[in-house]
């Protein structure tokens, strides 16, 4: 049997494959596609179409004044406002400062949460006493949404910076504890046995076997904690803050500045997405062995 000649149609360009207009050569020869997730291409062409269509709709509706700016701002108005926010800031606070303070709060909260949560999770994975002591607390706090703690934290700490970072610390603490404990539990007994048979001490097993083995789970925890804290910080700033993206859109709402509200929401979405991409990138580069056991 001779191999069939590859015509232009058989061999689509890389661009067409990237856009999802054509499948790659393996996927094209699969007869079972429905139910095979690897045969579903990303369909980027449709993503581009929907974004273009939404933009077009916004431009047209702005030009003809279909929606009152009170409900949804015009695209020109938003563009103007972006420029003014970037140059003059909002309510005497530069835009980058609003963004920066929100990001700073999230990073601090996750940092403290990890610094306390990871050792706690390790101890819970390695010692019955610690597990017994903290299990009820961790299991009880896990399903409580961090936002429900805001009133209590305001009563304890007022509304200053400490209060917000403490809230985010709590939000990430339990996530990190559970992740670290899961990481410790996931170490295969063969690895631990192998290390003991190679003469390693308990401390060496902790440092060279259990810790690296738990890193993938810890990283997944960090990613989750980042996401949760980003959502929590915005909500916390909505309640009580004079700076930060959440406070910016809340104040803008009070002055009926819909354009600033929309810009704030877009920035929150973009930064949340950016954090996720960064964490995925870090994970790929720092823990290349993940899932390769």
């Amino acid at each position: 049997m001779t191999a069939p000649a590859m015509s232009a149609e058989d061999n689509p360009s890389r661009l067409r494959i990237w856009l999802g207009l054509a499948d790659d050569s393996l996927a094209r020869q699969k007869t079972v596609r429905f139910g095979d997730a690897s045969a579903v291409n990303p369909g980027r062409i449709y993503s581009i179409c929907i974004l273009a269509a939404l933009m077009a709709l916004w431009i047209v509706s702005s030009a003809f004044g279909w929606v009152k700016p009170f409900y949804w701002p015009t695209i020109g108005g938003v563009a103007d406002r972006v420029v003014r926010l970037a140059t003059e800031g909002y309510r005497n606070v530069a835009l980058w400062e609003h963004i920066g303070i929100s990001v700073y709060r999230v990073l601090s909260g996750v940092f403290y949460g990890a610094v306390l949560g990871v050792p706690l999770g390790f101890a819970m994975g390695l010692s019955s006493v610690v597990r017994g002591l903290f299990d009820p607390i961790v299991e009880f706090m896990r399903p409580v949404p961090p936002l429900a703690l805001i009133p209590l934290i305001i009563l304890w700490f007022g509304i200053d910076e400490t209060a917000k970072i403490f809230l985010l610390f709590l939000a990430s603490l339990f996530i990190m504890t559970i992740a670290a404990r899961a990481g410790v539990s996931s170490v295969s007994i063969a690895k631990v046995h192998a290390a003991y048979s190679l003469g390693a001490s308990r401390l060496q097993i902790m440092r060279h076997v259990i810790l690296p083995n738990a890193l993938p789970e810890i990283f997944t925890g960090l990613r989750t904690a980042m996401g949760v804290c980003w959502g929590t910080v915005v909500a916390a700033e909505l309640v009580a803050a004079d700076r930060g993206l959440g406070s910016m859109i809340m104040i803008a709402k009070n002055f009926l500045q819909t354009d600033t509200v929309v810009i704030g929401i877009i920035i929150i979405g973009l930064i949340g997405y950016g954090i996720e991409l960064l964490m995925r990138w870090l994970e790929k580069n720092l823990i290349p062995w993940k899932g390769r056991d």
Partner: protein
């Protein structure tokens, strides 16, 4: 450590019993007064149907389990826990996948605080010996199953243990790789002169590698028979396939196989179709 007047070099398994309560409160007699002597430098293979206690026995030798009664002595000293003088090679999943091949092999000497230059020499020698020259800097997760087991062997030998315990080390490999690796195990045994205790499910492997074969039976776990084997020595001169196809080898294989099958049949009639594990 205890030293005994009857101390001999090698391993002494002295009336070792192991009983534990299974879920439901039923007592499981994994091992019942098992006694065994393995002299220094001997290659012993252990064979038996599932549930005969061979893995339990190996775990007791390694020091991961303490016997209910009896004791295990190595060179006259009672085994009380895991130690560097008893190296272990597992079926799979025991390599440290966050380390390179070299770092895995270097693990034992590094934990012992050996000098850097010494460690480098040991690692180079052993990577060479298991046929992995040029793969030292590779992450282990990029290697095939057979190559991973080569790393496991090198890592164990790098620590220069007195005894190497192998828990179905080739059990997860495909048939061709498995034959190739049997040759490597044999070669390493000859080169290093280590005492090796190897557990396997494969009758052919047990016959081919062992100087002595221990056949175990279940319920309670015990030693059913012992055989002196000539094949490991022959394989160093003749090719492995020749040895495995020779009349004495085939005859012995069928004898052992029928013995194991009759044990399996007994278990089946006792339990009906229930899984004996």
């Amino acid at each position: 450590m205890l030293s005994r007047p009857d101390a001999v070099n090698g391993i002494v398994v002295d009336r070792v019993s192991m009983t534990f309560a299974a879920p439901g409160g039923v007592a499981v007699h994994a091992l019942d007064k098992v006694s065994l002597q393995i002299r220094e430098g001997e290659m012993v293979t252990v064979l038996g149907p599932s549930g005969c206690g061979k893995t339990t026995l190996l775990n007791i030798l390694a020091g991961f389990l303490a016997p209910t009664s009896g004791e295990v002595r190595l060179n006259g000293h009672a085994v009380r826990g895991p130690g560097a003088e008893r190296g272990m090679v597992f079926q799979q999943g025991a390599l440290f996948e966050w380390m390179t091949v070299s770092d895995n092999v270097a693990f034992g000497p590094r934990m012992a605080g050996r000098k850097r230059s010494e460690i480098r020499d040991i690692v180079e020698l052993l990577i060479d010996r298991v046929g992995l020259r040029g793969f030292g800097q590779k992450p282990v997760y990029q290697l095939s199953g057979g190559m991973q087991q080569r790393v496991a062997l090198a890592r164990c030998l790098a620590n220069d243990p007195d005894v190497v315990l192998m828990d179905e080390p080739l059990g997860a490999l495909d048939a061709l790789t498995r034959e190739k690796m049997q040759g490597l195990v044999l070669k390493l045994w000859k080169e290093t002169g280590k005492t090796i205790v190897l557990i396997t499910h494969s009758v052919e492997e047990a016959l081919f590698l062992g100087e002595r074969l221990i056949v175990m039976a279940p319920r309670p776990g015990r030693i059913e028979g012992e055989y002196r084997l000539p094949f490991a020595g022959q394989a160093l001169e003749a090719s492995a396939r020749e040895v495995k196809a020779s009349a004495p080898f085939v005859g012995m294989r069928e004898e052992i196989l029928s013995m194991i099958w009759s044990m399996e049949d007994q278990i089946m009639t006792h339990d009906g179709a229930r899984d004996v594990r």
